[in-house]
């Protein structure tokens, strides 16, 4: 049962996502990898800011806010209770 990969920007608040692809390029890619946005890692979607962007994500026990520009280029699948 292959589940579909979705961008972090579309993930539901409170969900856990197992990352499988980071399409961000350049220095920012490096920085995201350093912070723990690596394939196989689990990211929890914490909350959206009042205007909907940026969104806070918990990765490696640290909360990091990303704008849509970046989070729409990071992909993963729902894990845990949301798994189908």
């Amino acid at each position: 049962m292959p589940s579909i990969s979705i961008p972090l920007s579309d993930a539901l608040i409170g969900s856990h996502i197992c990352l499988d692809r980071i399409d961000v390029q350049g220095i920012l890619r490096r920085r995201l990898l350093d912070l723990g946005f690596v394939p196989g890692n689990i990211v929890e979607v914490m909350q959206k800011s009042p205007l909907g962007d940026p969104t806070a994500f918990r990765v490696n026990n640290t909360i990091i806010a990303l704008r849509k520009e970046e989070s729409s280029l990071i992909f993963g699948e729902y894990v845990g209770s949301d798994e189908t």
Binding site: R31, D34, N60, N61
Partner: protein, 243 residues
Amino acid sequence: MSSYTIALAGNPNTGKSTLFNTLTGLRQHTGNWAGKTVVMAEGEFSRGDTTFRIIDLPGTYSLYSNSADEEVARDYIIFEQPDVTIVVLDATSLERNLNLALQVLEMTPRVVVCVNLIDEAKKLGIRIDLEKISQRLGVPCIAISARNHIGIENLLDQVEKVANGTTVPTPVQITYSDQIESKLAQLELLIEKTLGSRFPTRWIALRLLDGDESLLNTLRERMQKPAESFGEERLTHGQTVCH
């Protein structure tokens, strides 16, 4: 009477500056805002017959050319070649912290890994298998609490052993894909011809494959004036990094 230089590397907020203060007896004011330790603090202390000069590098998540802080820390390790680099890890967030440890291990073998905030980790129910980490990384690994003076003597014992050559760490070498490894081999030959063995050849080759132009520029500058010492702003005793 011997004297050694030690560099402290680590992620932001892992307690590097607290360790620095504990070792040097300074009450250096440290805080949490961005870009706090942009300059390196430098201090000195003696232990038995040995004098240690200790440099507190800027806290970074990485040692590539992402920011001025990272370049300062990287350049210090590569060009100043401290006798020992202590990589300070946050026991409560090991995974992210080990990323930096691996990067340092690619740059120099003379490393002691120091797992700080061990009492915090214990409170959270985190158990850390130091021996296993030490085995897997190939360098000594010590648990401390800089704030509560736990494990400091043990850490200094290991640092001194690595500094004077009693312990010779054999850090893990990350093996990359065949394609990258064959490119590395080619580049390493050229690098060694140009630079000699002053610098970690494999690491420079990796950075070149990564397209790290800022490192290339720094190297070029270094080659033009080889004798000149490190011109970064540096603090001595009693000064504060707060400015």
